[in-house]
Symmetry: none
Subunit: 248 residues, 2 copies
DNA sequence: CTTGACATTAACGTAACGTCATAGCTTATA
DNA sequence: TATAAGCTATGACGTTACGTTAATGTCAAG
């Protein structure tokens, strides 16, 4: 005769499991002692092992119960049904794997696109539109200088700059939980500011204006949103804090 | 703006599901009207569709929530993790299938079993062994394609195919007295050839190679012998004649 | 004004236990 | 022998992703 604990160790299940199996009538103790303790015998142990076998095969307990209380041929047909179900699961799982693979490819492709596109706003075409707006706000001569500066980089250097710029945003997203006023985020803003030197050297007001524009101009906004929905707003807030601290 | 009902019809989910997604913060309505009605906009619809996509992939809702609120690169790594999990599930399911098959065989005692097992050689385990051999002989990609094709049939369809395949051999045995070159037997070979389409479309050489293998591979041989001692040899001879007549 | 279609929240049920909480029983040790 | 340690019992909530009533409120149409 085994107590719950003993049997649970023998069979490698939890005491709770035995309680539960008793509760649902799947495995009743051989008898209940006077003190209310459950007492299992070897027959119960055997049955438990059968239960565990079918459980391993992902049978539901309810089905196991029917199975064990049924004649042999019903067990066979139950197994055959289960075989069908397992095959269906296999087929489905294979489909899922393929879809996941496709999706990963797709996303990676998008990421490459994003990477290339992120700073593409600074590329020939788009910067001309950007420059037009900026001219109204800032000094036209500065903008033209920025254009010239950018155009004179080699293609390789350009890509390098784009990658570095991209990294700033990636890091920023990772640091978002720290808060816009955290030292970490502020350091990233500083990096971004320095990065801007590749285009032109903005003053503090311009820095904030640029950050604001990132959140408003559809082209920029789209790219930011594709990285993280809150990035644009968070970014502007971080820059605002940075500018305040620098000018104050 | 959509009401719950409208959105549920658009997206093909239940109203309860929308309530629930709102409750757990997975999909919040764009706004709540004065009467307390949920109002969803197109952004919500888009998000819902993403949710359903990941749900299809067996992601847990909690994971989906994190996913959708995270930047792109985290989505990729989440998908990669999921890919691992799916592969584990696939491997486990394959093991279970084999165990179930063994158990059925054990319970049933080889006799009636033969009928259904005959073509089960094309199932997971056995086909993998078969595939290994076949790869040496044929094009590996073709074999993989065959695997995929077979796996994508429904359980019902599979059984149907197995039964049909089995019938070919039964008819063949009945026709053996007519001789391997008889019109009747040759017609059966033709049927068999067409039947192979369920797995892949073999050319004439492959057809003969397959028939030969049936007489040599122990797994197949055993099944053939259990039906009729001369079936394997007779079958190969019949196929040889068929192939000659077709290619000549 | 009633009816019917739609909306809301609340709450139970599902599967198979894990995890407390509370309380009684047994055994070992000081 | 008293006490602590260890085992036992039952009860009940938590988990996942909703389905399914139930009770009740709102809106448009006849």
């Amino acid at each position: 005769m085994y107590t719950v604990k003993k049997l649970s160790i023998l069979a490698g299940v939890s005491v709770r499991t035995l309680h539960y199996y008793d509760q649902i009538g799947l495995l009743k103790p051989a008898k209940i002692a006077e003190n209310g303790y459950r007492q299992y015998d070897n027959v119960a142990l055997l049955r438990l092992q059968q239960i565990l076998f079918y459980r391993e095969l992902d049978f539901k307990l309810k089905d196991i119960k029917e199975l064990l209380d049924a004649p042999g041929f019903e067990q066979v047909s139950a197994l055959e049904n289960h075989w069908d179900a397992l095959w269906a699961r296999l087929a489905r799982t294979e489909r899922l794997i393929k879809t996941v693979e496709d999706t990963i490819q797709h996303l990676k492709g998008e990421k490459e696109m994003t990477k290339k596109k992120l700073f593409a706003a600074f590329s020939e075409e788009e910067q001309s539109a950007y420059a037009k707006k900026a001219e109204e706000q800032y000094d036209p001569e500065t903008v033209r200088a920025s254009n010239r500066k950018w155009k004179n980089y080699s293609a390789e250097k350009k890509q390098e700059i784009l990658d570095e710029g991209n990294q700033v945003y990636v890091d920023m997203i990772a640091a978002m939980p720290q808060g816009a006023d955290s030292a970490e985020v502020q350091a990233i803003v500083e990096r971004w500011s320095a990065h801007m030197d590749y285009f032109w050297r903005p003053n503090l007001d311009q820095l904030l204006g640029l950050a604001t524009m990132y959140g408003q101009s559809p082209d920029f906004k789209k790219n930011f949103d594709s990285m993280h929905p809150d990035l644009a707003d968070f970014f502007r807030e971080a820059v605002r804090i940075y500018v305040d601290s620098q000018s104050g």
